[in-house]
Amino acid sequence: MGGEKIKEPRGLRPGGASRVRDEKPWWDTFPWWGLFIALVLAWMAVQIITQDDYALAWERIIPGLRLTIEATIKAFAIALVLGLTAGMGQLSRNVVVRNVARTYVEFIRGIPMLPLIFTVALIVVPETSDYINARLDAWFGFTYEPSFQMRATVTLALIYGAYMAEIFRGGIQSIPPGQSEAGRSLGLTRRQTMRSVVLPQAMRAIIPPLGNDFIAILKDTSLLSVLGVLEITQRGRQFSASTFKFREGYFVVSFIYLCLTLGLSILLGVLERRMTRDRKGER
């Protein structure tokens, strides 16, 4: 009798309690963390609405939101192009292309973000723009001086381009070689096979980490403050430094970032779920 009972799946014993034992109670699976964060956000919002110091900080800081979002979207867009180019470049047959792409990726990934921002914004950009401006001035009679915001955005794009290159490369390499062999054996060119066979499949592996990078870029736009770009963090620093209300300043800054990043990750989750639902038939 004992031996038989061991083989029975738990919770399905005939004549026993009908409730399945393995099912966890609701409070075990409930996303308490989400509730907790929502409560904190609500409390923060109440502070901002009801307390004058917080309201003042909010007023001073929130104009930076536009810059933060602008820089995020621009940097992401440029990084996407750089990442795709460098990612595919690393898989190129051409030895020069392959090594240029690899050098870029390894260089960027090996240097911390802050020194890289200073290097690009204060050395690389001025020197290249001096060089270009000398030509522009000589040939067309005008010059172009990139703003610090532009320099910082480009730096962010350069950095995330390298990270995305690895995402694209990994995504493409995750597709079994039989797929491109099938494409090529049908007479499709290398390019056609990449575009119609490999990339669409790789996208499923690529899109979720790209979404994470978007959120990471959003957070890292705070680094632009070191160049004096008036985005959220820099405005928070200025407010705090001028009023000595550090708590209010950084409190509001954190609140804004939290709202943005949490909102985005919820959006991403929905997007990912929709992607897997729409394509149920595959794989």
Binding site: Q179, E181, S185, L186, L188, Q192, E282
Partner: protein, 253 residues
């Protein structure tokens, strides 16, 4: 010069002195000569790792030979001036793992290359696709995704996908090896019918029944070399080489 030379049917595939070495040390194929004429069905058998798939993959240059010459339909494949994509469009290939495109429906799988390579319109390509799907017996699966099909059905779609390009040659690389036993026949039936319609075929397989029924010539490859070539009944019943005999002793009941 060809085995079926003279005034017989035209030569379709010619391998001369074909060798393939991997990593400079692994000799997968060693000095293989093989001619296939139009309408001929050649079945290649041999132990696993003998290089038979490599020989097949050299015919459409999925594997680039280390030495030798490959001629398909009059094109010298290793000549840099040859447009390999153009030749591949004429050479259908069916893989052991089917290699259907999982993100596309069956009909999209079959129309993709027709439209991109043959330049056919969507309507025309879909007409051809439905005709080929009917031929392999599953027209009702046009809008399914590969995932929703059984292995046998997937392989038949893969065959239809190749046939839709109106190839002059069909290459089969162990087309039934990844199938559950009950699905082998439905794929072999399609291949037999194709053979009887006069398609030029080179088939790497372990299905000796298929070889007996469809092959004009049986090629036995061992350790990268062609050991024996001949009509299947002769090679089966009266192999001249010890290696051939040893192989058949192991696999035939």
């Amino acid at each position: 010069m060809a085995a079926h030379g003279g005034t017989g049917p035209a030569q379709m595939i010619s391998l001369r002195g074909l060798s393939k070495t991997f990593d400079r040390t692994i000799h997968a194929v060693v000095d293989v000569d093989l001619e296939v004429v139009e309408g001929e069905v050649v079945v290649i058998v041999g132990p696993s790792g003998s290089g038979k798939s490599t020989v097949l993959r050299c015919i459409n240059l999925l594997e680039v030979p280390t030495e030798g010459f490959v001629t398909v339909d009059g094109f010298e494949l290793l000549d840099p001036k040859t447009d390999i994509d153009h030749v591949r469009a004429e050479v259908g290939m069916v893989f052991q793992q089917f290699n259907l495109f999982p993100h596309l429906t069956v009909i999209e799988n079959i129309t993709l290359a027709q439209r991109k390579v043959r330049g056919r319109s969507r309507t025309e390509a879909e007409e051809v696709a439905v005709r080929q799907l009917t031929r392999v017996g599953i027209p009702e699966k046009a809008d399914a995704y590969p995932r929703q099909l059984s292995g046998g059905q997937q392989q038949r779609v893969a065959i239809a996908r190749s046939l839709a390009m109106d190839p002059k040659v069909m290459l089969f690389d162990e087309p039934t090896s990844a199938l559950d036993p009950e699905m082998v026949k439905e794929v072999l039936d399609v291949m037999l019918e194709l053979a009887s319609e006069g398609m030029t075929m080179v088939v790497v397989t372990h299905e000796m029944g298929f070889a007996k029924a469809a092959a004009d010539r049986l090629v036995f490859i061992d350790e990268g070399e062609i050991v024996e070539v001949g009509p299947p009944e002769e090679v089966f019943s009266n192999p001249t080489h010890q290696r051939t005999r040893a192989f058949f002793d192991k696999i035939l009941y």
